[in-house]
């Protein structure tokens, strides 16, 4: 696809959790808990609040259409701030310094004073109904053609356990939000920029790792389309596909728009009660419903069911809008008869509603109030089809397609957080922040200085155990040995099904030191680590797996082996070394370094010959 011709513009908003001791505005630890371990439950409603400018944000208004009681799981690590029962503590300086350091890495200009704002979110994911956020720095560079527009420090939201149940363990973990300009022109470029930003973030060594700790939002538009913000792409590998599919969706919607115009299609907006049509229906959904409403979309036949991206149709878009009213979804004539609805029923429905063969009929089934609300939303979305692509916030579905979430929020969602005082950032402080070595540079250095090949250097640099490696090298352990041991130990852990705490850094380090001092053989490292992971101390593990073999003991052993095989050695001369070595190693493998064995054996053979 010729993305340049399509006028593709994409920008990124990257959210990365920071690995601080405490949360951004309270003293609770930044630890993710298992929701089964929750201690207590708090139940709350949220309403929209009016912004300082006197307006209600449209996205917030739509989320608040249903008066839902949200349930929040709390833990023994939860404080009052997270359940919105106490004013926030001052901003976490540790988190701010990480954000400022990253801003400096992008050559940005910090703001002299940070003013914390409340970003209204009433979907339940924040107990207060807002997320605290502050712009920290502006206008940075990334690569040749891209700019970082802003860097903000903000709070993480709750995790959704299911439906209206949330877990507050994640709420309040510090995040950095990095917003790029809409500078990317191809899906692949979006991937590359995201990857590069990820590398820079990791270079600090102070960001959280693992799935869900970094999320990319992608802004996509094409010429004649509209800006769409896709939330929560967690896997980097999917990001280009998400962009590709969004371009496809916008193109399809534009094609539908043109077809509707050609057909002189219209949305009359008449809503009819067709509950009677489905009396005695075999459809489970319709059978249960107290009320079934229908509306006719003139000239829409075949277009509601047209695929606009994998697994998604115009009907899915309408269904997303309808779901805001608490209905499960909708039926449309492009997909019927199906789901227990018979051809006769469809015929009856068309007759009852006066729908012609060119028309599509949309059905919703629920309580009357929900149906009326849903129909309003469906008609709204149907009318948008004439415009082409609506500006929306969307969420990513598995595979890279997306679903409608809410309208793009406006400035009205932001208002000042009056409980937090402004934070001053002086020039001296910003200048004093030390920039970490970029992982890309580190990788090159490891290859050059330590003689690692590219694969090993890359693996080591992006490993969670990079700090351990650097510490080991600083403590005098040979870099190649350290890298191999550390990476092997990780593999060992995952193979044995142990978690990281089974093999703390201290133990791995002690094993490496034992080898370097000659107290254990390099060949036995893996077995020793396995024994350690099973709970043995380093000393016990070495004693059990491979009691060390002293040089004197080795000399005695070699002497007896040589004298036993005197004839053979005389016969073969120097070339007896290999076979005899094999015999000795059988006895001492893993207990003494192979290099020492060959050394001793060589000198004994020379003496003998």
């Amino acid at each position: 696809m010729d993305y340049a011709a399509l006028g593709l513009k994409a920008g990124l908003e990257i959210h990365q959790q920071l690995n601080t001791k405490e949360k951004l505005f309270c003293h609770s630890p930044t630890v993710i808990r298992n929701s089964d371990e929750h201690f207590g439950v708090v139940q709350r409603y949220l309403r929209t609040a009016v912004s300082e400018m006197g307006t209600v944000d449209r996205a917030a208004a739509e989320e608040a259409m249903q008066h839902r009681l949200f349930t929040y799981y709390t833990y023994d690590t939860t404080g009052l701030v997270e359940i919105d029962e106490e004013p926030p503590a001052p901003m976490n300086r540790e988190a701010l310094d990480i954000v400022l350091t990253i801003a400096k890495m992008f050559s940005m200009t910090p703001l002299p004073e940070l003013h914390t704002m409340r970003k209204m979110i009433v979907d339940g994911s924040a107990t207060s109904g807002f997320q605290r956020t502050a712009l920290a720095a502006l206008n940075g560079k990334i690569g040749e053609a891209c700019r970082i527009e802003t860097v903000a420090i903000e709070e993480e939201a709750c995790q959704r356990v299911e439906d209206t149940i949330f877990s507050v363990d994640r709420l309040g973990i510090p995040l950095i939000e990095i917003t790029t300009s809409p500078c990317m022109k191809t899906p692949e470029e979006v991937h590359d920029v995201a990857q590069h930003i990820g590398m820079i973030l990791r270079s600090t060594g102070k960001v959280k790792r693992g799935l869900g700790t970094i999320r990319q939002d992608v802004n996509v538009s094409i010429a004649d389309g509209a800006r769409v913000e896709i939330k929560g792409v967690q896997e980097l590998d999917l990001i280009a596909e998400v962009v590709r599919r969004e371009v496809q969706r916008q193109l399809s919607l534009l094609a539908i728009r043109d077809e509707l115009a050609a057909r002189k299609a219209s949305v009359p907006g008449l809503v009819q009660d067709v509950t009677k049509v489905f009396e005695g229906t075999a459809s489970n959904v319709l059978k249960k419903a107290k009320c079934i409403l229908a509306t006719v979309l003139r000239g829409f036949d075949g277009l509601v069911g047209m695929e606009i991206q994998p697994g998604r149709r115009l009907g899915s878009e309408m269904s997303d809008y309808a779901k805001k009213c608490g209905v499960g979804g909708l039926f449309h004539t492009d997909e019927l008869p199906a789901y227990g609805v018979t051809a006769e029923e469809v015929e009856k429905l068309r007759k009852e509603t006066g729908a012609g063969p060119q028309d599509a009929v949309i059905l919703v089934a629920a309580t009357e109030a929900k149906c009326r609300c849903a129909m309003k939303m469906i008609l709204r979305r149907a009318n948008m089809a004439f415009e082409g692509v609506p500006e929306e916030t969307r969420k990513m579905l598995e595979g890279g397609s997306t679903a409608y979430m809410r309208p793009l929020p406006g400035a009205a969602r932001m208002y000042p957080e009056t409980d937090v005082l402004p934070v001053t950032v002086t020039k001296e402080h910003f200048d004093s922040l030390v920039l970490p070595e970029l992982l890309a540079d580190k990788e090159a250095r490891f290859m050059k200085e330590y003689g690692m090949d590219e694969g090993l250097a890359h693996q080591m640099v992006y490993s969670e155990k990079l700090p351990l490696f650097e510490r080991a090298v600083a403590e005098g352990i040979r870099p190649m040995f350290a890298a191999r041991t550390i990476l092997a130990s990780l593999k060992e852990l995952s193979r044995g099904g142990y978690d990281a705490s089974a093999l703390p850094d201290e133990k791995i380090l002690a094993v490496m030191h034992a080898v370097e001092k000659g107290n254990a053989a390099k060949e036995a490292v893996l077995e020793i680590l396995t024994a350690c992971a099973k709970g043995l101390s380093v000393r016990d593990a070495i004693a059990k797996v491979a009691p060390s073999f002293s040089r004197d003991e080795l000399v005695n052993l070699v002497k007896s082996v040589v004298s036993e095989r005197a004839e053979f050695i005389k016969e073969r001369g120097k070339s007896a070394l290999g076979p005899v070595m094999g015999v000795v190693m059988k006895e001492v493998r893993g207990r003494i370094d192979g290099k020492v064995v060959s050394e001793v054996l060589n000198s004994e053979l020379e003496k003998f010959l």
């Binding site: 708090v42 409603y45 609040a49 006197g54 009052l80 919105d84 106490e86 003013h115 704002m117 206008n139």
Partner: protein, 412 residues
């Protein structure tokens, strides 16, 4: 250059030109709201006024509100509480708009419960309340009831709400519910407790209750409110929604949210049980002091000339023996001294230990199970209304508005 609120400005900072709206000054910096909604703070010299600009602020459509004439009439008496208040972020001022329409626009559910008449006798922070304002409040409420209010809601800051509520309950015999309500979490947050508390207060105000009470969250959840007796409630937490707790007695009622089912306690005073009467005299020259170990007795000299003094003593109602001569001097020179306890629960008894007996000899009055703050307000009212010291003693030891578990027996 000087700027005014809402001035359209252009900010040149970090190599960028950004349009925004001037919000306020912060030293030599200015705060500007960007189009994204973020406020940023930059040196004043980076900011320039700009003319024109396309961003007409979206104004919300204002629909007229009609009240249902078939519903009972409630009065909302505002003292500067948070139900309808909006903060002006530019000046920090709380908007004084206070009409029934404003309230219903903020909390539409109220319109289904009653129709409302609103009155605002004062607009202050609750820490600035005083006995004179309690009197104005009691008179305003009486006026509203005499004019046909079938219930009264008083919006009040939570810090001193219990003092005001107790004061009104002593000054006013009310046949209809008088419900004090506040919010612990600011009204400008989507999670504020103000709306639910207000809805429950309205439900309480149209219920069968017939006394002065405080309506606040019963728990941290948005599922039930408690209606506390005005003389038995204490703010027991600085910030939680369920800060208000009944002490020594169960709440008069609970109200489920959002259903609005009211469950009255058996011993709640019912609608119509009391006849309307206003006794609005108070003696403001009264004090309250908490005794602490090692307290210099000279502290008590500050209350010389006071008509009344409540002491929150230790345990069963004690102070250090070195305070006894000063207390005796106070009572002999005409100050009524009432002993209460710092313990939140239980009654004072000065007949168990020696110090207590000395205190009784010194002429102090045992305050029974009264909360110290309630005893102070009651003492003001009793001193304002009793004709002699005998009646003062008798009334202080008589359960008037639920402040005591029972009348206190006099000694033979």
């Amino acid at each position: 250059m000087t700027f005014q609120n809402s001035d359209k400005v252009t900010v040149s900072f970090a190599g960028l030109e950004m349009d925004g709206i001037y919000i306020s000054q912060s030293g030599t910096n200015v705060i500007v709201k960007l189009k994204s909604g973020y406020n940023i703070c930059v040196p004043e010299t980076c900011c320039k006024k700009r003319s024109g600009g396309e961003e007409a602020a979206e104004t919300a459509e204002i629909k007229p509100i009609e009240q249902n004439e078939k519903l009972p009439l409630l009065s909302i008496v505002s003292t500067g509480g948070t139900i309808a208040s909006t903060v002006d972020y530019r000046t920090g001022a709380v908007s004084s708009k206070f009409t029934a329409e404003d309230i219903i626009r903020n909390i539409p559910e109220l319109a289904e419960i009653a129709r409302y008449h609103t009155v605002q006798p004062c607009n202050i922070l609750s820490e600035n309340m005083n006995p004179e304002k309690w009197q104005i409040l009691a008179r305003t409420i009486a006026f509203e009831i005499n004019n046909g209010a079938q219930g009264v809601i008083v919006t009040h800051g939570t810090d001193t709400m219990l003092y005001s509520a107790a004061a009104v309950s002593f000054m006013l015999d009310t046949p209809v519910p008088v419900i004090f309500v506040g919010a612990q979490r600011s009204a400008d947050r989507p999670s504020s407790d103000n709306a639910m508390n207000a809805v429950c207060a309205a439900k309480a105000a149209v219920s069968d209750l017939g006394e002065v009470a405080v309506c606040m969250h019963a728990t941290s959840n948005d599922t039930v409110c408690a209606i506390h007796r005005a003389t038995r409630v204490r703010k027991s937490h600085t910030s939680r929604r369920d800060a208000f707790q009944s002490i020594g007695r169960e709440p008069a009622a609970t109200i489920a949210y959002p259903d609005g089912d009211v469950v009255l306690a058996e011993d709640a005073v019912k609608r119509g049980e009391q006849k309307m009467a206003l006794h609005d005299k108070l003696e403001p020259k009264c004090g309250l002091i908490t005794y602490y170990p090692g307290m210099n007795p000279a502290v008590l000299d500050a209350f010389e000339g006071y008509k009344g003094l409540v002491i929150a003593g230790t345990g069963l109602g004690h102070v250090g023996t070195d305070c006894l001569p000063r207390l005796k001097f106070l009572t002999e020179s005409g100050t009524t001294v009432v002993m209460t306890s710092q313990c939140m629960n239980g009654s004072v008894c000065d007949r168990v230990y020696e110090t207590g007996r000395y205190l009784l000899d010194a002429g102090i009055i045992e305050g029974g199970s009264m909360l110290p703050e309630v005893a102070l307000v009651k003492l003001m009212w009793v001193l304002g209304n009793a004709k002699d010291s005998e009646e003062v003693r008798r009334l202080m030891q008589t359960n008037l508005k639920g402040e005591l578990d029972c009348d206190i027996r006099g000694d033979f």
